[in-house]
Symmetry: C3
Subunit: 208 residues, 3 copies
Amino acid sequence: MFENSIILLDWLGIVVFTITGALVASRNQMDVVGFILLGTVTGIGGGTIRDLLLDAHPVLWVERPQYLGVCILVSIAVFFTAHLAASRYRLILWLDALGLGLFATAGAEKAASLGEAPLVAITMGVISACFGGIIRDVLGKEDSIIFSREIYVTAAVAAASTFIGLDAMGVSRELSVGLALAAGFGLRAGALAFGWSLPRYKPRAPER
Amino acid sequence: MFENSIILLDWLGIVVFTITGALVASRNQMDVVGFILLGTVTGIGGGTIRDLLLDAHPVLWVERPQYLGVCILVSIAVFFTAHLAASRYRLILWLDALGLGLFATAGAEKAASLGEAPLVAITMGVISACFGGIIRDVLGKEDSIIFSREIYVTAAVAAASTFIGLDAMGVSRELSVGLALAAGFGLRAGALAFGWSLPRYKPRAPER
Amino acid sequence: MFENSIILLDWLGIVVFTITGALVASRNQMDVVGFILLGTVTGIGGGTIRDLLLDAHPVLWVERPQYLGVCILVSIAVFFTAHLAASRYRLILWLDALGLGLFATAGAEKAASLGEAPLVAITMGVISACFGGIIRDVLGKEDSIIFSREIYVTAAVAAASTFIGLDAMGVSRELSVGLALAAGFGLRAGALAFGWSLPRYKPRAPER
């Protein structure tokens, strides 16, 4: 049952990130193939880079082509319904927050299960959660999530760190995953709801 | 003889894509090293990403350094002759269309020969054909091919899908490759000659 | 003692490149997590791509997480002291020149020690030295080093080529490394001090 929940959340994460990629395609008024390209890159890009770095072959969608299939179908669906999705933009942001927490947790868990050091595992979680969106924004010429005023990457760090920390303390895997998800989603949710942000660097010397 | 034709087309594809990368360097008035960098990334970038994702090591140019050599020589040649190439811009676009069809077909064929699922093999064909150009456009700050109004990525999908479809039906490799190339090149050629394009997403709700 | 010098220079290279990445974060007034992300990507990005292409797993920071730790600590330090670093911008450029020479030499040496062909080893040196900065500039929306008017990528080519050439002639590893570093650093230093540059492509036909 726990395994099933994880798998369900994994799929949900891919679906949600694919939607955010396809919505960037809609803003650029692309054709359906453009939707599929941007949607798929966003949905599975982070996990792909994680697997390449971990030398965990075959990478997720080479091992399970149904991931590709879902990205393609969801992107096509957004092509025909993006006007609805756009009016539900806030909903998407909340789902994206859930995907962020899930991917960060799952990415850290995968690296830890392969025996990687804690710092490496946390980094893999952050890469899983953020690099799909980073590639989406570079290709789609959007303002990158790394420029986000509100907390974003930090929430991925929180989720991955929470999982690795609890796991190191011997907490059960179920509880570690649950609390990590809560930490990542909660932090991003707070950013969405209340504009939470970290202090930003302020230049003290005159601008060059 | 068939093998020789394939190899000839493979080299032709690399040469042509390298030229398109070097021409972006010429538009940015780079020095010869900039030409080599952009030309080489474009010529072998797509195949490199395909090989990394397939865990097909050594990647093409690590196995055969002469690929690097050709990219370098072609880029240098363009540095000294770009004014000629520019006046033959239409010719380059047609050669690029041939390279697109060839790389998409060859990429799908390589993945299929490694036993990958059809959907994975088609994706690898598209990556081979398109990601060199995508990297070129990101680095050179050009409008990306994924924003192209006329059919581009779609032609790569058509070539790769045709090869995989015919191959699955038991059609001979020679004929499958020939028809796949014809499908990819033909579709892109139609886009160049007649402005063929797929319907684009049109926002129905007021713009956010 | 020679080994210790190499290791010292390797760490110095990572520190310096991390600083340049974190300074881009400061120009964009990011929070501390943004500093860490851009700093780390710049510090270890080039070496990571080299290791992926060489199939040299585990990649450097997966094998030695302390590389990650240094990137994170340096980025945090820059967050609190960037106003000092900015006023020492020229110093950073000179340290960056040292890092460039070191990474190009070390990257070529690693590839050569794995038995790669000379052209492949030189390319790996250039990738080690330049791709961290290239990713930094794409993510930070800076003008890319590949557009640099003064010699930059060329200095990496010089360092890597010098090492491979001397190594092929049977020169001792110590001397080859020293001369390669001198060639790369010297060329970039000349570019900084005297504005050295290669001739750039000048369009002869009317601009399209």
